[in-house]
């Protein structure tokens, strides 16, 4: 039974590590109501700056910490000043997306500068071990705990008792009122970002030393776990973030003890969703906090959509349909096939995130459900491919909606976080449910596309098929938008309180949006499965969810034509510019940032 002591200690140790990121996140959320997805990237930068200091400059530990804190704080200030402050009066979702874009850019800059190979970050502390339970801990464990606790305590005291701390809290509660009271809101935000960034950078360095390993994958992992911990502890609640982190560590540890290692992340994300559903303000908040009423005059994404005349659309469709008949290489056709498949996902997401306001970050999971359903039906049950794909769409609509439904009661950023977590959960279930999905081995030998017994092997045939399916889905969606449902979805997006007051049940209509969107995404996934002939749990991943979101914003939230144009632009153009392959993700990040800053309504305008 001493093992339970060890599991508890291990849980606390890893929770300790999560706490460092969570505290920074909580601080920023507390001030600007923003989940800073770039926190993990600052953590990463801190780790690499630490490497430079320790390995290249060989500075002693104290100087290393100061250097890392300084550089990180500077980056935090720059992010606040140039990345986020211009978005103050912008649409509600803009800062969230901006931080995602910033995280891409920072991660890529680090990867391009240092190469993606993991490298060692030697600890500069003496290598003594203390026995605890059956295992040992070292000075780094103590230092990390110390810094985590100290920063939580210091921040708590700072926020409660210092003048700047009061200014910070006033700004968080009511920015305009604070400004009227003479608070220099900008200075406050700067201070907070600087502190949170310094903390984040130092954490990255310490954790890098702790594992003696840094690499660019650290960033996303840190952000994900930090967000879970922060939400569990109560967004904006700094001491809560520490406790939430420890709790997360314990849940993971006990989960491993009982079920095994491959379920670890499943527990983290299930914990997150459970907290969001039952206690959205965290485990330590008592009453449900009410969102403030929107002031008259502040609405989301006001814009006039670009009007596309019917003749132009018909012309475009004809041109695209005739394309394979021209002497065009199959490379171009393949690129467009990819674009059409992505466009189906984008159509789905633009309905859900754009028209209905549910900014889902886990949409690729719907592709996965459709793909696996179609693959398994055609392989195991010899269902004809066309029918299997249709079933994939239906399964994605039904199961996808069911799994995402816990997020229906949430609002704002929480929807994004919940859907991100649910997407990860679905991916992990696919990985672990081996009897059905073959687990990590994946499904190979998926029969190729065929319709009514006729195999579609020719690239032009596949091109026409996918083009047709995409156009049909687009037309259906436009019909939906023109109906009372389109009106209803948009009303829920604009103001769900007023929508409810006039008879719109949120659960019903969010479900309908996801059902329709799920169908489109599921069909896309199904087609992809038969095209690729092999899929596994990694084929449809989070990066695609975020790419889909970028496409949807580029095209214009809710804009059907925009979803298609955006797909061609973001899937097609990178192919055309293969020379810039190494910079592709960097370019996506910059595109996202520019869009959010200068044209949040996208190319064709939001609807």
């Amino acid at each position: 039974m001493s093992s339970w002591l060890d599991y508890t200690i291990n849980g606390l140790i890893v929770g300790n590590v999560y706490a460092l990121v969570a505290v920074g996140l909580a601080l920023i959320f507390g001030v600007s109501r923003l989940i800073n997805f770039a926190q993990g990237s600052i953590y990463l930068v801190g780790a690499y700056v630490g490497w430079v200091a320790v390995v290249r400059l060989q500075t002693p530990l104290v100087i290393t910490i100061v250097l890392v804190a300084g550089v990180s704080a500077l980056i935090g200030l720059l992010i606040e000043r140039f990345g986020l402050r211009p978005l103050q009066n912008s649409v509600r979702i803009a800062p969230l997306l901006a931080t995602i874009g910033i995280s891409f850019v920072l991660d890529q800059i680090v990867m391009l500068t240092f190469s993606p190979n993991p490298r060692a970050l030697p600890s500069q502390l003496p290598d003594i071990r203390f026995q605890i339970g059956a295992g040992t801990i070292g000075p780094l464990d103590i230092l990390i705990a110390g810094i985590g606790l100290a920063s939580a305590v210091l921040l708590f005291v700072f926020l409660r008792y210092s003048k700047l701390g009061w200014a910070v809290r006033a700004t968080a509660q009511d920015r305009d009122a604070a400004m009227q009271m003479g608070v220099d809101v900008n200075r406050v935000n700067q201070a907070v970002f600087g502190i949170a960034a310094a903390l984040g950078g130092v954490s990255g360095m310490l954790v890098g030393m702790y594992y003696n390993q840094i690499d660019t994958a650290m960033s996303l992992q840190a952000t994900l776990k930090g967000v879970v911990a922060e939400v569990v502890g109560g967004a904006g609640n700094v001491p809560g973030a520490v406790i939430g982190s420890l709790l997360l560590g314990l849940v993971e540890s006990y989960g491993i003890a009982i079920f095994g290692t491959s379920y670890r992340n499943l527990f983290s994300f299930v914990l997150l969703v459970a907290v969001l559903v039952f206690r959205p303000n965290g485990l330590f908040a008592s009453a449900k906090r009410a969102p403030p009423e929107p002031l008259t005059g502040t609405f989301i994404a006001p814009s006039r959509p670009v009007h596309l005349p019917l003749w132009a659309l018909l012309l475009a469709f004809t041109a695209l349909a005739l394309l394979p008949l021209l002497p065009v290489s199959s490379y171009v056709l393949q690129t467009l096939i990819n674009a059409w498949l992505f466009a189906m996902l984008a159509l789905s997401l633009t309905l859900v995130a754009g028209t209905s306001g549910q900014v889902s970050l886990g949409h690729a999971a719907l592709l996965a459900i459709g793909a696996y359903t179609s693959a398994l039906l055609s392989l195991d049950l010899a269902v004809p491919v066309g029918l299997a794909i249709l079933c994939g769409g239906l399964m994605s609509a039904a199961l996808g909606t069911l799994l995402i439904s816990p997020s229906f009661r949430l609002r704002g950023h929480y929807v994004s976080i919940a859907t991100l977590a649910i997407g990860e959960i679905i991916s992990l279930i696919i990985l672990n449910w081996e009897t059905v999905t073959r687990g990590p081995i994946g499904i190979s030998g998926i029969p190729p596309l065929s319709l009514f017994g006729h195999e579609l092997v020719d690239t032009p045939q596949i091109y026409w098929f996918t083009l047709l399916v995409m156009v049909v889905l687009a037309l259906l969606q436009m019909r939906l938008l023109g109906s009372h449902l389109g009106r209803g979805f948009r009303a829920i997006r604009d103001d769900d309180v007023a929508a409810r007051a006039y008879g719109l049940s949120l659960n019903r209509y969010k479900a309908l949006a996801f059902i329709f969107g799920g169908f489109a995404a599921g069909v896309s996934g199904g087609i992809a499965a038969h095209l690729y002939s092999y899929i596994n749990h990694e084929t449809f991943n989070t990066q695609q969810s975020i790419l889909a979101l970028t496409i949807v914003i580029l095209g214009g939230l809710g804009n059907v034509a925009g979803a298609i144009v955006g797909s061609v632009a973001l899937v097609g153009l990178p192919e055309v510019f293969r020379i810039a392959a190494e910079y592709r993700i960097l370019i996506y990040g910059i595109v996202l940032l520019l869009l959010v800053r200068f044209r949040p309504q996208g190319l064709l305008g939001t609807i």
Binding site: D6, A120, Y331, G442, L573
Partner: protein, 386 residues
């Protein structure tokens, strides 16, 4: 469509048409043109480090080939397209390669999903897809244009089992493995092989690639009472596990598969990897001349850096490709046929390599049993662990 986007699409289409046309005009009658291989692999994204290592191996092999006069007087070259190991992109790259008549063979991709997604395209178009690190057992079943020199786990794991069970005398094994297609297949082969040798696998734990914290996993392992830990990992996770195993109080012998073999394993693992045993297909102190040539050449070209297994795989792949092209010329079908004709190509991993036509793979693989002593990989001296 609005003016902007329609223009963009038309421009993009026109650009591609022009490029495509230009490419089809090139002919191989010009023997001054290099013979081109297409490489599909990760230059960016999560697996970018492997793409970088591939390039090192390729470039070294090409230097040597060039120094030896090229292929029948012509240079051999490759064009590397970044797939990010993403099936979407590998499929597009496949289309690109098959429509480029200069390309006589494709190498890659890094991961199985990316490789296998593109197989139908290569098979239909009749361009050899030559994989050398994708390890999914079904890869070569994609068609007769799919060939591979990646060491089959069916060959590799029994060697590891023999090291751990027969030589090191371990009887109760705890297997920690990466929960990927490669990791799972390997684990299954290992467990079977160990069983045949009379050892029992008391626990297996699969973890995902980004995992950092293994402490609780190791407590679970500890409670199963093994006398040895088997790691089916890459060097970064292997190093993490080794470090944390000591921190959790596990003193059992650690025996790892060849996938941890890399100088980085030592760098990241530090003292914790001392006395870790591992089998490997490639070992720099292997006296075989082809190995020594490889190591010396690599160090000379890359500033004294020692090559690791992925460098060896790509170096071998390029050499095999060169041998195939020497026999098959530049016709794609002939190249496919040449794979079954090459005999005893000199490779680091296999020694003399010949393809088994039935499986389109190379059987066997060198085996060196190593151990880490004083921060270096050395041949195991036969000393039993305490």
């Amino acid at each position: 469509m609005s003016n902007v986007s329609r223009r963009t699409l038309v421009k993009a289409s026109l650009a591609s048409i022009v490029v495509g046309a230009a490419m089809s005009r090139a002919t191989f009658a010009q023997s001054s043109e290099p013979i081109l291989l297409g490489v599909s692999g990760p230059l960016t994204g999560p697996n970018a480090q492997y793409g970088a290592q591939w390039k090192q191996g390729f470039d070294l092999a090409l230097d040597e080939i060039r120094a030896a006069g090229g292929i029948n007087g012509r240079k051999l070259a490759y064009t590397f397209e970044d797939s990010q190991s993403d099936p979407r992109q590998s499929v597009a790259i496949a289309q690109k390669f098959v429509s480029d008549p200069r390309i006589v063979m494709e190498l890659g991709d890094f991961s199985s999903p990316a490789s296998m997604a593109a197989s139908p395209i290569y098979q239909r178009a009749g361009l050899v897809q030559f994989g050398f690190t994708n390890s999914h057992p079904d890869f070569t079943k994609g068609g007769d244009f799919m060939w591979s020199t990646s060491v089959s786990q069916a060959d590799e794991q029994p060697l590891l089992a023999s090291y751990a069970v027969s030589h090191l005398g371990l009887k109760r094994l705890a297997v920690l493995h990466l929960n990927s297609d490669w990791g799972r297949t390997s684990r299954d082969y290992f467990v079977n092989a160990a069983k045949e040798l009379g050892a029992e696998t008391v626990i297996t734990e699969g973890y995902i690639p980004d995992e950092r914290d293994f402490r609780s996993t190791l407590v679970r392992v500890r409670d199963a009472n093994p006398d040895g830990l088997i790691l089916i990992s890459y060097y970064s996770d292997g190093a993490l596990i080794a470090r944390q195993a000591r921190q959790v109080g596990l003193k059992q012998t650690i025996c790892a598969s060849s996938s941890v073999y890399s100088p980085k394993f030592l760098e990241l693992g530090g003292e914790a990897v001392e006395n870790v045993h591992l089998g490997t297909r490639y070992f720099p102190d292997d006296p075989r001349p082809e190995v020594q040539k490889f190591v010396a050449g690599f160090k000379a070209k890359f500033n004294g850096q020692e090559p690791d297994a992925f460098n060896a795989y790509s170096y071998d792949a390029m050499n095999v490709a060169a041998a195939v092209v020497k026999i098959g010329g530049t016709d794609r079908r002939a190249i496919r046929d040449a794979f079954s004709k090459v005999r005893d190509v000199s490779t680091v991993i296999f020694g003399p390599a010949t393809f088994d036509v039935a499986t389109r793979r190379v059987k066997g693989g060198m085996n060196a049993e190593l151990v880490v002593r004083k921060g270096q990989f050395v041949l195991w001296d036969g000393k039993q662990p305490t």
